[in-house]
Symmetry: C2
Subunit: 140 residues, 2 copies
DNA sequence: ATTTATGCAAAACTTTTGCATGGGA
DNA sequence: TCCCATGCAAAAGTTTTGCATAAAT
């Protein structure tokens, strides 16, 4: 975790305290490049600092989700969500429906679509998650 | 539920039996236009036919997900997923991050992006889920 | 007739809550 | 110092499993 992570600034600015639980969860998320299940977050946080309780981890994941830093998704089939990091409000990946591996990719022409939606639906859009489903080369 | 639902054809073709549990879950999903939590599916199925067990409902939701008929998402904040129907493999909606209402919308130019990805990543894409997050007019 | 799928009930997990206490600003 | 956030442990839910039985083909 870099001390000057933009997310840390974000927390500070929003008036949230920089607690061990929050900093540790953020560090774990960033170390995983933001593809990680809640169970894995729990395990890794526990390993880094056993003094941090489970409840705080869940509370932190909820907070980060509310702030738009991460987003829960159903990448694998278990009952635990996979959290992905939302850089600048968006995240793109292709998930192999067979092996569940994922492949991230850059923006397409989301900008035009976003603006069109804001006008049509009269909403203010802050971000999006675009998931493609398919079968990867290895599984084909 | 229409007897000749394309999904019913799909099940038959794939060799799955058309059981009460499956037909009832499908009917519930279609009645809700495919935005429904697992808890709601359980409740509505129970009301329609109390003889159908919870386990079968979950097994059916899993099966439908595997077949690409539906897709679990985190629309609301509870621990139950919201299932959306994947018509022709895709689904688009904007979710208000405040009130959690959703607004469906039609295809943008996903076709070009899809084809580009298939070439670049060497995957075979069967569908996608695109979720925009933002604040709706009422909540603004 | 053959299997596949089911219902039931219990087990396994995951997430949430209440409350006294500790730690950040 | 103040009060937000935490840890703990129990509670609340949700989903899964094993197995005998029913029902779809």
């Amino acid at each position: 975790m870099t001390a000057d992570s933009p997310h840390i600034q974000r927390l500070k600015q929003a008036g949230y305290r920089l607690t061990q639980a929050r900093l540790t969860v953020l560090a774990v998320l960033e170390a995983e490049h933001g593809h990680i299940t809640s169970a894995d977050v729990l395990e890794k946080v526990e390993r880094i600092n056993p003094a941090i309780g489970r409840a705080s981890v869940f509370r932190t994941l909820d907070l980060f989700t509310q702030l738009g830093i991460i987003r829960p998704t159903y990448v694998d089939t278990s009952l635990t969500p996979t959290y992905v990091m939302m850089h600048d409000g968006h995240h793109h990946h292709v998930i192999c429906t067979d092996c569940k591996r994922y492949f991230e990719f850059d923006d397409g022409d989301m900008e035009a679509l976003t603006q069109s939606l804001e006008k049509t639906l009269d909403v203010r859009i802050s971000g999006h998650l675009l998931e493609f489903y398919g079968v990867c080369a290895d599984c084909n």
